[in-house]
Amino acid sequence: MAEPLIELRHIYKIYKMGDEEVRANDDISLSVERGEFVAIVGKSGSGKSTLMNIIGALDVATSGEYILGGEDVGEMSDDQLAEIRNKMIGFVFQQYNLLPKLDLLENVELPLLYAGVSAAERKERALEALRRVGLEEKWKNLPNQLSGGQQQRVSIARALAGSPSLILADEPTGALDSRTSREVLDFFKKLNEEGNTIIIITHDNSIALEARRVVRIHDGKINFDGDVKDYAAIL
């Protein structure tokens, strides 16, 4: 059996609030294979965002081990973390997080720019990514000239452009209406069928049910980890 893409072992993330310790992640162990489609679900304050930051290499755990694609992320410097994010992870955020002053193409090119890809190849790969989300014709537009659903598709294109091992989506439908949410979720499913590993972070069980595996976080601990059918059964 191939090694898992993500391997979290006994992850703790402890914040100090004055004299009080807050255990945002309290002994979390989790492994995700390549090609999986996982929903991490939990209420606000459950620790799911902390977990996402750790998985996304935006933050390091207080203790515990995190192996991403065979590399130990726990010991990395800020710049090494930046490099691993750039190489391995495509982020999709709730607020899209597109840069308002750059056109769509420039937005999608950003991860490639930081990876040091040449200008010509950048443009080609960014246009290809925009084509996959059906927005290649609007590449010269600015983000605010697009609808919310379209902007989220641009941010998915940006996540895809660098051909990352993992697509990490934080409440990707949180700012969208139900119809465009449907579109985006269907698009994630399609990407997963094409072989991409996807993790969606959400507070919404109905969205979690779109994934193939569900991990539920409660008070910093995993209290469910299993197939989506089993999860549907306990709701």
Binding site: D78, A82, N97, L98, K101
Partner: protein, 392 residues
């Protein structure tokens, strides 16, 4: 790197008003450095020129002859002839305090000087008419004179008409043997460069009823030997007088030197004041860059999440500050150059912006951008991506 420049220009263009206000400080600072330094330079060369026309190669000697200790014209001539390697020309100089008359016309402001035949060379004047005072005129105390162009035209109408006419000096009749060429092309007036009468110094001594000659003018062969020449004269005079209060040796070139160093000091002072305004401009750049970093925290967060390393963010913001300052510097140079020419024209000076002032103020403005842009840029670079993403 190139990308950072493009980003910087894009960011400056998308915040035109703010960028302009930031640059304004630098524009004014650079322009004022250029204007002040260039104008002072122009004034300095104007002063130098007018001093040079007085004769920078001259050394004036003033002695106080006592009955017990004195230096005669013959002593001075002997000293001069022994030191022809140092001196080109020498003349005794006897001012005659009297008026000049022709018929009923009086010239009250005209200076009458008793000089030797070498004075024409010392002044570097040419004659328009006639001849110079000659050695024989001095020896035989001939009542002849060389007059300035102004005197000739005022009293006789023209140099030609003045020649061989009689001029009454202090009651004595002097024959006009020569008229000097016009020196001041712009204006001729009482007491100007063209208003003079020269007579043989031997006549002047007699008229002034003072047997001693107190003033001499030397010219030196080599300007760089000015202090050596002055010292030679002082040594010679000390031998006779044994008291350095009894004579005064003034080299015009030394006066020029002290004038120059004074102007240089003023120039540095003014440049320093203008430099302070550049410094203030730098603080302005830092302030704006800090605002810009705060405003763009989210953007920085996004860039870092997508894989931008610290160095890349640092570079982006430092280059933005430097480009902004450099743009301000260029605009300041243009403004300063135009203003220098304009103010120079108003003040009647030929003022052109000096390359030194341009170079210094431009590099200082870029340096200010880099220096004051660095702290905010570092702040931006070390932002935590999670906190940065969370900010609105």
């Amino acid at each position: 790197m190139l990308q950072s420049f493009k980003l910087a220009i894009k960011s400056i263009r998308s915040n035109k008003m703010r960028s302009f206000l930031t640059m304004l400080g630098i524009i004014i600072g650079v322009a004022s450095v250029i204007i002040l330094v260039s104008l002072v330079n122009a004034y300095m060369s104007y002063m130098t020129e007018s001093f040079a026309s007085l004769g920078t190669n001259q050394i004036n000697v003033n002695v106080t002859n006592l009955s017990s200790r004195s230096v005669s014209a013959d002593d001075m001539y002997q000293f001069y002839e022994e030191n022809t390697d140092l001196f080109d020309n020498m003349t005794p100089m006897v001012q005659v305090g009297t008026t000049v008359k022709h018929g009923s016309d009086t010239m009250s402001a005209t200076g009458v000087s008793g000089v030797s035949e070498e004075y024409l060379d010392i002044k570097a004047f040419d004659l328009a008419q006639g001849r110079n005072i000659q050695y024989s005129d001095i020896v035989s105390r001939q009542k002849v004179c060389v007059i300035g162009y102004y005197v000739a035209s005022e009293l006789y109408g023209s140099p030609q008409q003045a020649l061989d006419e009689i001029l009454k000096i202090g009651g004595y009749a002097f024959r006009i043997v020569g008229v000097a060429e016009r020196q001041d092309e712009e204006d001729m007036d009482d007491g100007g460069t063209d208003d003079f009468v020269w007579i043989p110094y031997s006549c002047a001594v007699k008229m002034s009823r003072n047997a001693n000659i107190n003033n001499y003018v030397f010219t030196i062969t080599d300007l760089s030997e000015a202090s050596r020449a002055s010292e030679a004269i002082e040594d010679f005079l000390y031998e006779t007088f044994k008291n350095d209060d009894l004579y005064r040796v003034t080299a015009m070139s030394e006066m020029l030197d002290s004038l120059n160093s004074m102007i240089a000091m003023v120039s540095a002072g003014l440049g320093g004041i203008a430099g302070i305004s550049l410094l203030v401009a730098g603080v302005g750049v830092m302030n704006i860059m800090l605002v810009s970093v705060t405003e763009r925290t989210r953007e920085i967060g996004i860039r870092k999440a997508l894989g931008a390393k610290k160095g890349v963010i640092l570079q982006q913001f430092v280059i933005e500050a430097a480009v902004q300052s450099a743009l301000g510097g260029i605009l300041g140079i243009l403004l300063g150059s135009v203003a220098t020419e304009a103010v120079g024209a108003l003040a009647g000076l030929s003022a052109t912006p000096t390359p030194g002032a341009i170079l210094i103020s431009f590099s200082v403005s870029v340096a200010i951008g880099l220096f004051f842009g660095y702290a905010p840029a570092r702040r931006a670079a070390s932002l935590n991506p999670i906190d940065a993403l969370r900010s609105e």
